[in-house]
């Protein structure tokens, strides 16, 4: 069903090269003190990067699926609202979205909450209680939900109309048709681009450093500011990202192959 491109048959020399360079840098980390100090500092950032990526991606998947369902809904208003959201969010660069959420939307949300809280007798919250990490997560969620909504929509629409008619004829209701007929088939179409977007999210999570969230990139920035060694620091930063993204890509490719052969 999914075409295999000819270079799939090539021996992965590129991977050999990447692993060799990666091992060389890693060897440097183990033996050269400047390098090992950098990795030591970046360590905490790795968890922040993974946390931001996982939480944002999970929330974006849920929101994206809801948006895709709205986009395919029977109701005009839901379709138009979903379309409006996707088009607007897709048209804004993620970094702009990030600054907008952090410094415009978050204070506005706090003000709105306080306005409601006052009338029902809850404690008001302060803008500072809304951490920059969560503002970053919300911005990434909003950005990626629009990409993922399109992925889900395309996947759901790819299911043959005849299948749905057959299910209708068998007396399955709307939910059953979605759950047992449409979704399982759509999933095979959806999974590869979903995986690509996950890898892209790992990289785009580095944008949160503009807010000062201490992910790998931000810690790289402050490490280089303190040790005056850009070459060593950014070698390690790049190594950390490559280790995550390439191993994820390989795992996803393997998974896709298994799905295809089923």
């Amino acid at each position: 069903m999914i075409p295999t491109s000819p270079d799939d048959r090539d021996f992965p020399w590129w991977l050999v090269a990447v692993v060799a360079i990666g091992l060389y840098v890693f060897w440097q980390v183990l033996t050269v003190e400047e390098y090992s100090r950098v990795l030591n500092t970046l360590q905490r950032g790795i968890w922040v990067t993974i946390y931001v990526t996982l939480v944002s991606y999970t929330m974006a998947c849920v929101l994206g699926l809801l948006l895709a369902m709205a986009a395919l809904s029977r109701f005009l208003i839901l379709r138009q609202v979903a379309r409006f959201y996707v088009e607007v969010v897709r048209g804004i660069p993620i970094i702009v979205l990030l600054l907008y959420v952090a410094f415009v939307l978050a204070p506005a949300m706090v003000a709105a909450w306080n306005w409601i809280a006052e009338s029902i007798g809850f404690e008001p919250v302060r803008t500072r209680d809304f951490s920059l990490l969560w503002r970053a997560v919300i911005a990434l969620t909003i950005a990626y939900s629009s990409f993922l909504a399109e992925v889900f929509r395309a996947g759901l629409q790819s299911v043959d109309q005849g299948q749905i008619e057959a299910a209708e004829a068998l007396g399955l209701n709307r939910w059953q048709r979605f759950r047992f007929i449409v979704f399982p088939q759509a999933l095979r179409m959806i999974l590869p681009p979903l995986g690509n977007d996950f890898v892209a999210m790992v990289k785009d999570s580095s944008l949160v450093s503009v807010l000062g969230v201490t992910d790998v990139t931000q810690l790289g920035k402050v490490t280089a500011a303190g040790n005056f060694r850009y070459f060593e620091t950014y070698n390690v930063v790049a190594l950390v990202y490559l280790t995550i993204t390439i191993s994820l890509s390989l795992a996803l490719r393997k998974f896709e192959k298994r799905m295809r052969s089923r």
Partner: protein, 260 residues
Amino acid sequence: MRLLSILAAMMLATSAVADGHLPDLEGREIVVVTENAYPPLQFIDGNGDAVGWEYDAMAEIAGRLNATVTYENISWDAMIPAVSEGQFDLGMTGITIREDRAEVVDFSDKYMTSEMVMLVRGDEERFTDAAGFAADEDLLMAAQPGTTPFYVGVYDVLDGDEANPRIKLMETFGATVQALRAGDVDLVLTDGTAGNGYVEASDGGLKIIGEKLGTEDFGFIFPKGSDLVEPINAAIANMEADGTIEALNTKWFLEYKLGE
């Protein structure tokens, strides 16, 4: 453990008596925000710990005023707006006291005076001072917009035009130094300490030339109308008077070896 806490309590008690004339904040929490990107004021050391002159000073201030400090991180670009909005109680990152900034935040009294030096490539021979740099139209400098080196570059070195194309703007200070090393620009201004750090780590790739340029006073920033300005000014004056500030200068500017 118990003994330790008793000892700590006794020490707290004695310092409270010794500084009896200072305001007592009664354990109040002060949320301090910084970026950790300005050695030796605040930075990440080789062990991954956030340390520096300002951390030591803030701990001392908190001890004298009986306050507790919690730290948050934010990038420099976002710091003044965030403090101005009251998201944090205090911002520290070697911020130059300037009138335009004082319109949106309150400043403490100065706790440090910094002088700018001229950082150039190790083999630079075309100019030896600020006037020589300004005279040659081909020479370029790099700076982080809105920072002290940028303003000193515009007003003390060049012609006072903030849009002068001879200043290349970059997002971080480190990037300006990389641009210098790569040959994209010919001059970067920095305060003496960071300048020496870069020169020492560069193996002859960089050097400092010329006279020291404009002096800048650093202060902490607060949201407008903050009731912390007075007590913290009192603590700074107190630390200035008893030599604590001088001791911190010796520790971080003379004894501490950056980049090791």
